[in-house]
Structure formats: C-alpha cells, structure tokens
C-alpha cells in the first residue's frame, strides 16, 4: 500500500516539473526605461497609432511579420522648444521559456537610439544577461528598420534570444516608420 502510494506521488510530481515556465525577472520599470532612453526630454507625450490594413500589409510583405490590428503605443519625449527627442515603445515576444519584453527608443529620423530589456523569465535571464553584458543592445544604435541585424555570437540559446531581441527592435523601428514617420511625410 505504502509503496503504491509513494510511486503515485512520484509520478504525479514529475509532470509539473517538466511543464514549468520559470517566474518573471523584472529588470527595469516602464517609467525608468522611458526616462533613461529619452534622456534630455522635458515634456512627455503618449501617442497611440493603429496601422491601416495597407500599412500592415506593407510591413508584412517586407519582413514577414504581421502587426496586430490593435493599437501600438509610443511615449514621445520633447525638449523645451517642443522638438522631438525621440520615442519609446514596448514590445513583447512570448517564447517557450516565457515572455521577453523590450523597450526600444527611436530618434525622430526613425533610427534606433537605444534599447533595454524590461522583462524576461528566470530561465532566460542568464542567456539574455550575457547578451546585455557583451553590449548587444548598444549595437542597435544608429540602425534603421531595414539594416541587417547585428552579430550576436555566443551559445545557441544566447543566439536564439539575440534573434528574438533583434526582431523586437526591428519591429519597433518598422512600427515607428509606418505609424509615425511615413504619415508625417504624406
């Protein structure tokens, strides 16, 4: 009886161990990410854009990524003379290990000003931390939505998460270009 009970307990305990997604690791608050990435801003604005069907199709045709029909939010920073300092948006990718949430800052010309990883899962953190420590996020500065992705090197999982982050940075640049830059020029 006892042996059967112990066997049953062990068998039941094995399943959740295999299916576990580790808890989130929060690296920075939204407010701190916006403040740091839009340094020099005196006033802040929130702009929400909903891409038209044509804009979504254009992005998908070029990159293979299909933007949502829902709205995207940009936090804009301006100086005292009302000149744009930049815009920050937050994007998330849900991987098998949990979410990866990134804040991306864009210059008024659509080029990447900077990027910060806001949230990852506990399991993902060591791979992403190595990327951060090696300056991977800084390597996006000055690139636009169409520039090739920077080299990320490292282990296969580090490379996988490098691609995830690079994809999110590119999506942010594409959204800014389609939802703000091109509309301003049309």
């Amino acid at each position: 009886m006892i042996r059967r009970l112990v066997f049953l307990l062990c068998a039941m305990a094995a399943a959740p161990a295999l299916a576990h997604v580790t808890p989130p690791v929060l690296l920075v608050s939204d407010r701190d990410a916006v403040t740091n990435l839009l340094a020099g801003s005196k006033r802040y604005f929130v702009r929400e854009v909903r891409l038209t069907s044509a804009e979504r199709q254009a992005v998908q045709k070029e990159t293979g990524w299909a933007p949502d029909e829902d709205f995207y939010r940009f936090y804009l920073g301006r100086d005292n003379q009302q000149h744009d300092v930049g815009a920050v948006t937050f994007l998330t990718e849900y991987t098998i290990h949990g979410p990866v949430r990134v804040a991306v800052a864009l210059s008024p010309d659509g080029k990447v000003k900077g990027a910060a990883v806001v949230e990852v899962s506990e399991e993902t953190y060591p791979w992403v931390k190595r990327l951060i420590d090696h300056g991977f996020l800084a390597s996006f500065a000055g690139r636009d939505a169409h520039a090739p992705r920077p080299q990320r090197g490292g282990s296969s999982m580090q490379g996988f998460y490098g691609d995830i982050i690079a994809g999110l940075v590119q999506r942010a640049a594409l959204l800014y270009e389609a939802g703000i830059l091109k509309r301003a020029h049309s």
Binding site: I2, L9, V34
Partner: protein, 181 residues
C-alpha cells in the same frame, strides 16, 4: 480510509509525508513572495496587471492615431509583470497542472486522516476550488470585467487555507495522535 490512518504509517512513510508537506509549505511561501513582488497581492494590483490595455491617448474606435501630453507619474515606477493574453495562457497551463497536482498530492495524504466524511470532503476540496477560482479569476478579470480581480485573491486565499488545514491536521495525525487499540 478503510481503517488506514496516518498515525499507523511506518516511520519512513511518516517522514516522507511530513517532508512533502513542509516542502509544499515552503514552496507556497516562496510563491506568495513571488506574486507579491511581481504583481502585488491586492485586487487593484491584480487588476492593473491583468485588465485589458485601454488607450491612454483617448483614441476612439476607427481613429488611426491620437496624442496627448502625459505626466511620467502615469507610468508605473515599480517593475511589475504586465500579463497579456499569451502570458495568461502560459500561466494558466503551468499553474492549472502544477496546483492541481499539488492539491491531489495533499489530498492523497489527507484521505488517511480520520475525520467526519463531510468535513474531510470540504477540506480536501479547498485547494482544488481555490486553484480554479484563482486561474478562472485571471481570465474573468481580463475578458469579463476588471472588477472581478478579487476572485484571484479569493482563489489564492482558499488554496492557502486548504493547505494550512490539510498540513496541520495531517501533521497532528502523523506525530501527535495516540493510537488506541
């Protein structure tokens, strides 16, 4: 259960059950701390983490964009988990499996505690019901009404209450009950 009580278990089984209950207790405390720091343990914190993301700039249906000036104070200064639907699916699948199995293991031990059947049935059901109310409350907060976030707190409380009762009564039966022949 069929005359088989925890107090009659051999020493090895008593140690096994006790350490399992202790481990689940420690795990529950760690989970509570994790929930408190990453989301918060008030209904308003759960609502902030789970409620649908409404436009901040006052964009109406059909509008392509909208903008307004904001104060940085409107952005969270705390690093908090922001649960969107894909994360809700991940959380539901892991927690429903994990908590249901934990409830099952706790219940399995508790079945050997000599108690009135009605009372035993009520206590053994608490962790299961708590899990369903907890996870169901997350979905209800997201898709029915943000005001239902209290269900998540209620569910967690039921689970904790069930664990405490099961652990206390089982430990009492394992180590303190005197066998009368």
């Amino acid at each position: 259960m069929n005359g088989m009580h925890l107090s009659r278990f051999p020493l090895s089984a008593k140690v096994f059950c006790s350490l399992f209950l202790l481990g689940i207790g420690c795990g529950s405390l760690a989970a509570f701390a994790q929930a408190a720091t990453s989301v918060g343990i008030s209904a308003s914190a759960v609502r902030a983490s789970l409620a649908p993301d409404l436009p901040m700039a006052g964009m109406r249906h059909g509008e392509a964009s909208a903008e307004r000036e904001m104060d940085l104070g409107e952005l969270s200064s705390a690093a908090k988990v922001w649960m969107r639907t894909p994360l809700l699916i991940q959380t539901s699948h892991t927690h429903l499996f994990g908590q249901t199995l934990i409830s099952g293991l706790l219940g399995l031990i508790f079945l050997f505690v000599p108690l009135r059947e009605a009372l035993k049935a009520a206590i053994v059901a608490l962790p299961f019901v708590g899990t369903l109310v907890d996870i169901g409350g997350m979905w209800a907060t997201r898709f029915v009404s943000p005001s239902l976030s209290f269900l998540v707190i209620t569910g967690g409380t039921l689970f904790a209450l069930g664990y405490v009762l099961i652990a206390a009564l089982s430990m009492h039966d394992l180590w303190l009950r005197k066998e009368t022949t």
